[in-house]
């Protein structure tokens, strides 16, 4: 009979204790699966949101010191037309670049003819925005994310029409509840409203005015046609955000500069080498930031750090509980089975063979328990996902549906770690008991 089979049969002894130990491993591992599922899905959700939904890209190229200084001196710390051409020429030589986009940012007031509210605007390429919405990563990780709440995307309208999207809070504040597409094709008659009832009057057309300081310092304004409303997914920006074509915001800020050029890669894992290559080509004429740098994506980095710390702490506690349970159980079992060990030794089993036998016994127990834990964890994940539980993480607008997605590779590594810990705990317990002579062990007097 092989050692493996003998070890499996030995599991039949001390059934209650083995059941208790196996349950500790199974429940502990199921808990780790739930935590891992939450963290994995959360991390990928925020990564997809950051890289694709809000157009951060994998790399963001700014003018030198542009990331820090742009808000104070936009004209000086933005990419001029020449600088944009140089960056685009450099990007054209990078085979790993999937797409890029000129972006512009700024703030001002948006008015409906009666009342005005502050806005923060992001200008981008509507065609790229459409590609982002249809990107496989967005479909995989954010399938139910409703970016557009009403109306249509910017890509459905010519830029000459000055289409804009209002965040949902801004749309309600301005009374712009009807979008451009809700009016007859000839367009609603634009009138100066009676400001005694501004919101009701404002709903009679989809037209708004954007007012801002031009980058040269003077005041500037431009018309905008509201074609849709959207949610940023973040409470603090949901009542003040505007999305518009880069060309419209350039007109508003009276400039041909852009704030940054966002770059998406075909293989994001090659980000370091693409960045280094671009930096070598552009030298001191550009500042290149990775999407996962804290200063560019503080929300992502902060949230993911928190998630990972939570999961690591939980996994450590559960692993420690599993290891201590096994150590305790193995020690008790071996103490009770001292005479059996003495018998193996007197039959000619070497110490290492006895050690292997007991370690294999623990391995069987752990494998069966991990199997049960996996089944339990998967069932719990299925139940949770089917329940469509809506929860409200801090700062997330409208809440999130609790969905757990298991990272299989990482989970397999955790299972291997547990197996290793179990073997280690058993090894130490049995090694200690193998020191006495077979005669002393068979005597049954050792404790």
């Amino acid at each position: 009979m092989s050692f493996w089979l003998l070890a499996l049969r030995n599991l039949g002894r001390n059934r209650k204790r083995n059941l208790a130990t196996g349950s500790a491993i199974a429940f502990g591992f199921a808990g780790i699966l739930l935590l891992a599922g939450y963290s994995y899905r959360g991390t990928n959700y925020i990564r997809t949101y950051t890289v694709y939904v809000i157009h951060t890209g994998h790399l963001a190229i700014f003018a030198p010191n542009g990331f820090e200084q742009f808000p104070y001196k936009p004209a000086k710390f933005s990419l001029s037309k020449d600088a944009q051409d140089k960056v685009i020429a450099a990007l054209a030589t990078e085979p790993e670049v999937e797409r890029f986009e000129k972006q512009i940012r700024g703030q001002g007031l948006v008015g409906n003819g009666c009342i005005s509210f502050p806005f923060v605007a992001q200008g981008f390429d509507p065609a790229i925005d459409r590609e982002m919405r249809l990107h496989p990563q967005v479909k995989e990780w954010m399938p139910s994310f409703q970016y557009l709440l009403s109306g249509s995307g910017l890509w459905d309208f010519p830029e000459s029409m000055s289409p804009i999207l209002l965040s949902k809070g801004l749309s309600l504040s301005l009374g712009k509840v009807k979008m451009h597409g809700d009016f007859p094709p000839s367009g609603a008659l634009i009138t100066v409203p009676d400001c005694a009832n501004p919101r009701e009057q404002a709903a009679k057309d989809a037209n708004v005015q954007l007012l801002s300081g031009a980058w040269a310092g003077n005041v500037s304004a431009a018309d905008g046609e509201v074609v849709g409303t959207f949610t940023t997914g973040v409470q603090e920006t949901d009542s003040s955000s505007i999305m518009a074509p880069t060309s419209l915001l350039q007109k508003l800020f009276d400039t041909d500069h852009v704030t940054e050029i966002a770059v998406w890669l075909k293989h994001p894992e090659k980000i370091a080498e693409v960045r280094a290559s671009l930096q070598a080509k552009l030298g001191n004429e550009a500042e290149i930031l990775r999407w996962d740098e804290e200063r560019l994506s503080p929300f992502y980095v902060g949230t993911v750090d928190f998630l990972h710390t939570l999961v690591l702490a939980g996994a450590l506690v559960m692993s420690a509980i599993i290891a201590l349970s096994v150590l305790n159980s193995a020690t008790m079992t071996i103490l009770e089975r001292s005479q059996e060990i003495g018998m193996y030794r007197s039959m000619g089993f070497r110490r290492s063979q006895v050690r292997i036998l007991y370690v294999q016994e623990s391995l069987w127990l752990s494998i069966l328990a991990l199997g049960a834990g996996t089944a339990l964890g998967l069932a719990a994940i299925r139940l949770i996902n089917d329940a469509q539980i809506l929860y409200h993480p801090p700062g997330v607008s409208g809440g999130l549906t609790l969905v757990l997605i298991l990272p299989w590779v990482q989970t397999a590594w955790v299972a291997l770690l547990i197996l290793f810990l179990v073997c280690l705990a058993t090894y130490f317990a049995v090694t200690n008991r193998l020191r006495p002579t077979p005669a002393d062990l068979l005597g049954g007097t050792l404790r």
Binding site: L109, G111, N112, G113, S116, V219, A221
Partner: protein
């Protein structure tokens, strides 16, 4: 004795006008002349902000509580207007489908807020209290403390110095709600305005600088102030788009 006390009090009151009366008098020298059929002047705004210079010239027309400031120069901004309807302000430029409601507190150019560009209605917008006497550059002044009557005025609080010799404002410190000075303005009166045949002083320069960075300076130079009749319709927001 009582008669003497009464006499002294009356004399003192005559020598020290009420804070409200001082505000009305000082406003008059800065464009608020409700008794007139209208006022016009040009205002050249020169700003130096963090080393960047900017210049815009406005034609300002005032009637009572309404004012219209139209850009004359630079040419690319020609046609842009800021309309004051009492405390409500509108911005409009050619090509816009509707005017934009703006706040008087919002930065217009450099240190100048929208509310600084046209006439001054401090008597309407602020409650004044006397804060003693002071001497500025050898000039004896009354010091006033102004607190905003409403939220939609240009500043929350103003420390205001009014000359004792001709009852015009010579200095203003603009304060935050918590009482910190964030801008300082100084006034010069090199213009005269002829009102019913009588010449009265009129502001020629308002120099505003950042309290924390005195190199950031915006100077409003007032030229050619004169009485001119304006129709009420000129200040109607609907007329901007015609």
């Amino acid at each position: 004795m009582m008669l003497l006390t009464l006499l002294l009090t009356i004399t003192a009151q005559a020598a020290n006008p009420s804070p409200e009366a001082l505000l009305i008098a000082s406003d008059r020298a800065r464009g608020a002349a409700s008794s007139l059929s209208g006022l016009s002047w040009t205002s050249e705004v020169n700003s130096v902000e963090n080393g960047d210079a900017l210049k815009v010239i406005y034609a300002v027309k005032v009637l009572g509580n309404d004012a219209l400031a139209s850009v004359m120069d630079p040419p690319r901004q020609k046609g842009e207007v800021v309309l004051f309807n009492d405390r409500t302000l509108w911005f409009f430029k050619p090509g816009l489908k509707k005017p934009v409601n703006i706040s008087p507190r919002q930065k217009l150019i450099g240190q100048a807020a929208n509310g600084d560009i046209a006439s001054t209605q401090y008597a309407r917008d602020y409650v004044a209290t006397a804060a003693g006497d002071d001497t500025l550059n050898g000039q004896k002044t009354w010091k006033l403390m102004l607190k905003a009557k409403a939220k939609n005025v240009t500043y929350d609080q103003i420390r205001y110095w009014v000359s004792k010799s001709n009852q015009v404002a010579v200095k203003a410190e603009f304060l935050t709600l918590s009482g910190e000075t964030f801008k300082v303005a100084e006034f010069k009166y090199g213009n005269d305005l002829s009102v019913k045949g009588k010449k009265v002083p009129f502001v020629s320069e308002m120099r505003i600088h950042d309290a924390n960075n005195p190199k950031n300076v915006t100077t409003l130079t007032y030229k050619s102030p004169h009485e001119e009749a304006h129709s009420k319709g000129l200040f109607n927001v609907n007329s901007l788009m015609k």
